[in-house]
Symmetry: C2
């Protein structure tokens, strides 16, 4: 193979595409991204075609210029891809994305494979919704970074209910939220990264920070890894996937969701693992051998979210101070505008021990703020 | 600081500029490179201005579009930079590059600072050259990757002598060749990376492979690091430098050369260290704090040199096989044409132990070959 002759296309040009493109450029693959926002993050390291990944004609003409097509986000128009896959290699397959795009279909696939999931059903009217409280309500399609998910505990909460029909799941008292990256190729070979433990932002269901390795017994770690692989197999997944799971108070494991692309829970792998999730992504979509997922160091990853009250051109306050801390790697995605809770970057901290990394992360959280030129 | 508002300019767009640009894009700095070859390696991840870094007018108009200027190679026309430095930040300073560009001046600076160097002088006529045999002859300016250096042991060798005047050095029986990266900022803060041991290609004085940590006693390692820092101070160096040293058969250390830019002997730092030399380069030229140089894993780095007899569009034979070896990271620079011994990429191997990494490196050397479409 001569990477310089291979054109990889990515639908979406945000930070996930940027970091995948970075990995691909290491081998000098040709990389292009389709994104409606001019000067999207990935355009710094890939060729951007400005256009909408929700428009079938645009997706079709973009895909025709590529040998391989993959995804920065799952909420794209899949219609043209079923024809296109006869001539270009699409990873993960459009069928897999179709299954993933609909949360009910996704759950069904895990359930049918005998994998543990919270009890779930589709609810189409308000009375049924009320009868099932307390529940977690999720929109059937769309929804990412916590959007499209609400917890409804009592009748008062009903005013924030999502439109119907929607997916509802039993409300489980969550003890820990866990995630990991799984890559699997069409030869059935796979790599399962060490699980991370996620801590969420009080507002917005958004990932605040995570640490690796997760605080789990050896047995549980093994179970989590096995379950994540089974989840990928249950959806016939070939490609790279982010699998989210949770533990209830009695240490029962449940599969939460799966994403058909690199995932926030794998960003630490750039500095902390032998092969980053992004390089792994490039390897699996191009048919190259899979790399080692070995963890080289304990790590903490913090998201850099836009500060509440700020908009417009971003200002990275405290950047200098934070870069002075040993073991700190800052990633700024290059988005032109900030708004509250927008993912503007992330910081990975390596430490001799997890405790050391967590201590540094707490300091970083206090110092590094993404503000904006416009205050509202 | 807002990285998106800062334009970093690099004179030269080869692999060193590419890898520095990769590091800069992590923080979304704006990065542009000046290079005469269209679609140079760095153009994949930076904006390229096509033009010659040896032409003063071109360098001047390029530099005026940047806030910060740095170097992918030292053999550029420095003349315009002395004026330009009043308005833009040039790191390392033009004065430092002037001193480095002339091998005699470089040696003099080390000598005057009392640092150990091989005996040296400038020779202007053939008789003097012959009298001094055996010697190492080096052209005063230009010369990199082993070009511009010849070993003349006896009168028969004189036919391969370089033009005069040139630098000559006593011929020292070299036991080991060592190199390391030193970064130093204008506050006097510095980081000294762990030394690597270099093994050279039998033809061409070209680096074949290296390993880190070097096989040196603790005391020698300390001495090497101190000496490298003194060498940087001796030339008033602020920026990132690659320092080459050697040990003779009696364990005497000598400074060989210094390069005012990221160096082949630091490529392993991308995978093996907390902060790569390229990120360190970006930090020091932008005035950001220096990062940790800590080594996370033993590493071996092999250069991927064009196979003798092959030219034209490169073909990377054995790429698949090599990527199947755990701990292997392949870098392909994206040069459009290969020729014998051209640096087309490199491979870094991490291992639990250095022995393991060296074993894998031996296998890789056998399997991975850069051939070309044209065979001569």
């Amino acid at each position: 193979m001569n990477p310089g002759d291979v054109v990889i296309g990515i639908l979406g040009g945000g930070q996930l595409a940027k970091m995948s493109a970075q990995a691909g450029r290491k081998l000098s693959f040709k990389i292009r991204v389709l994104d409606p926002t001019p000067e999207c993050p990935a355009s710094q390291v890939a060729e951007q075609v400005v256009g909408s990944f929700r428009d079938p004609e645009t997706v079709k003409s973009f895909a025709k210029t590529c040998h391989i097509l993959t995804f920065d986000l799952e909420h794209v128009d899949l219609t043209p891809l079923f024809e296109l896959k006869r001539n270009i290699r699409i990873v993960p397959a459009p069928e897999t994305l179709t299954l993933i795009q609909n949360k009910f279909e996704q759950r069904q696939a895990f359930y049918k494979a005998g994998l543990p999931v919270p009890k779930f059903s589709v609810v189409s009217n308000k009375e049924d919704l009320e009868k099932k409280l307390p529940i977690v309500q999720k929109s059937l399609v769309g929804g990412y970074d916590g959007r499209g998910t609400v917890i409804l505990k009592s009748r008062e909460d009903l005013e924030k209910a999502l439109p119907l029909p929607s997916l509802v799941e039993e409300y489980v008292e969550i003890e820990k939220e866990i995630a990991l990256i799984v890559v699997r190729n069409n030869k059935g070979e796979f790599r399962i990264y060490d699980p991370v433990e996620m801590v969420f932002h009080p507002e917005g269901n958004l990932l605040d920070y995570l640490f690796c390795p997760a605080d789990l017994s050896e047995r549980l770690t093994r179970d989590v890894k096995e379950l994540a692989l089974e989840a990928v197999k249950a959806i016939g997944g070939v490609g790279l996937f982010g699998v989210e799971l949770f533990l209830d108070k009695r240490e029962n494991l449940y599969i939460n969701e799966i994403a058909p692309r690199p995932h926030n829970s794998g960003h630490h792998t750039i500095e902390a693992c032998v092969t980053s999730q992004f390089e792994q992504h490039i390897r699996v979509i191009t048919g190259l051998p899979l790399g080692s997922e070995k963890l080289l160091s304990p790590a903490v990853m913090l998201n850099l979210l836009g500060e509440p009250g700020f908009y417009g051109k971003p200002v990275y306050e405290g950047l200098d101070k934070v870069l002075a801390i040993p073991g700190v790697s800052v990633h700024i995605y290059g988005k032109k505008e900030t708004f509250p809770l927008r993912k503007m970057g992330h910081v990975t901290v390596l430490g001799e021990t997890l405790q050391e990394a967590l201590k540094k992360a707490t300091i970083i959280k206090e110092i590094l703020k993404v503000k904006g030129e416009v205050k509202k």
